[in-house]
Symmetry: C2
Subunit: 224 residues, 2 copies
């Protein structure tokens, strides 16, 4: 009923679902102006509550951003799953790459936030869990392409590639491509072809075999 966008009027207390409204407003702010533009006070202003209301739902600014990032991860992985149409593993990986880059381009700010150093992911287990699920899903497709690559190293390689390209694109680091290939589909197709060719032609490698299988993400690092 309520727009969840602004407090219509009602009583000044008990907003209704302030938490969701904050996340939504923050997500829009991130989308339009980037992660740096998100301040708790501005978000509160947009939603129409006092500058300290958000603290009832998020202990810190970073926690709000983490919620937005989690929302972004969910969107991304949902899109990736919905693209699971092709029976050919190589083609499938290419599709996933396109979806990944497409998401990064369409949700530029949110994507930047998801991998921004403004969020210490180790402190937000929900983030870790979501990313873990995505990683495992990706690993299935890698193994489908080449059963020898059952270690996590190959999957990290795939993820690293699309992630790195997405980052370079969003950083405006690639200029001439923008002109000839605005959606970067040609670039992504080339990259995924190169990679799948490499994956197929790679026998079980010591380096990969030495890695534990399963998702390597997230657990608290306890480096000495």
């Amino acid at each position: 009923m309520s727009t969840s966008e602004e407090k219509i009027s009602g009583s000044p207390y008990h907003h209704g679902d302030l938490r969701a409204a904050l996340v939504t407003a923050a997500a829009e702010l991130v989308t339009c102006c980037g992660p740096a533009a998100v301040s708790l006070r501005e978000v509160a202003r947009i939603v129409g509550v006092s500058h300290n209301a958000p603290y009832r739902h998020f202990p810190t600014r970073q926690a709000l951003l983490a919620a937005v990032a989690a929302y972004g991860f969910e969107m991304l992985f949902k899109e990736m799953k919905q693209s699971s149409l092709s029976p050919d593993p190589a083609e499938h990986l290419q599709l996933i790459g396109r979806v990944y880059i497409g998401f990064a381009l369409r949700h530029r700010g949110v994507y930047q936030l998801m991998f921004s150093d403004e969020i210490q992911k180790s402190e937000y287990p929900e983030l870790r869990a979501i990313a873990e699920a995505g990683f495992n899903s990706l690993q299935e497709h890698v193994v489908a392409l080449n059963p020898n690559l059952h270690g996590s190293g190959a999957t990290v390689t795939v993820w690293g590639l699309v992630h790195g390209i997405a980052h370079l694109i969003l950083d405006n680091q690639l200029k001439q491509h923008d002109e000839n290939d605005p959606n970067h589909t040609q670039l992504v197709d080339l990259a995924t072809r190169i990679l799948t060719a490499g994956l197929i032609n790679t026998k079980s490698l010591a380096a990969d075999a030495a890695m534990p299988s399963g998702c390597p993400m997230g657990a608290d690092a306890e480096l000495g």
Copy 2:
């Protein structure tokens, strides 16, 4: 003579080489505490000048960070050049990958800054120029591996891969790897092997041929 670290004493005006001192102090701060910890006032405090002195040398905080990033790019490319030892192109690319990741690990904060969204690279042409040189250097090695890949797409792929992996590592996104492979050399070796296998086995592709050769980076985007 002066430590370039702090103002020894002398007259309260005319520091000597404040600009360099600011960059140095900022770089150390970035190295130890991350890009977010760098405030102009803190840097000024470290150097021993008033909170507004930096504005005589940098019009904005971002400009100071850009200078630190430029310093970082120079270091990185210098390391990459110094590692140009192997005559075998594939081995060479592997070396470059190791150097790249090694740099990211050793200069974590600076590396994060170099690709942080806190710096709008399009506004700092010096950054563009330095990155351009590095890209071109990398492209030479890619072409040496497979002359068919003379377009920029393959080079972007290589860069994207190492960059993406570096990013994932620095984000603490890879956990179990940290234990078995603290320097991530095994991971990098596997990734570069997969990639070089793909590069070698990739004939001239329409997608790559369609790309203009030369560096695609940096020029101001004038998207409609």
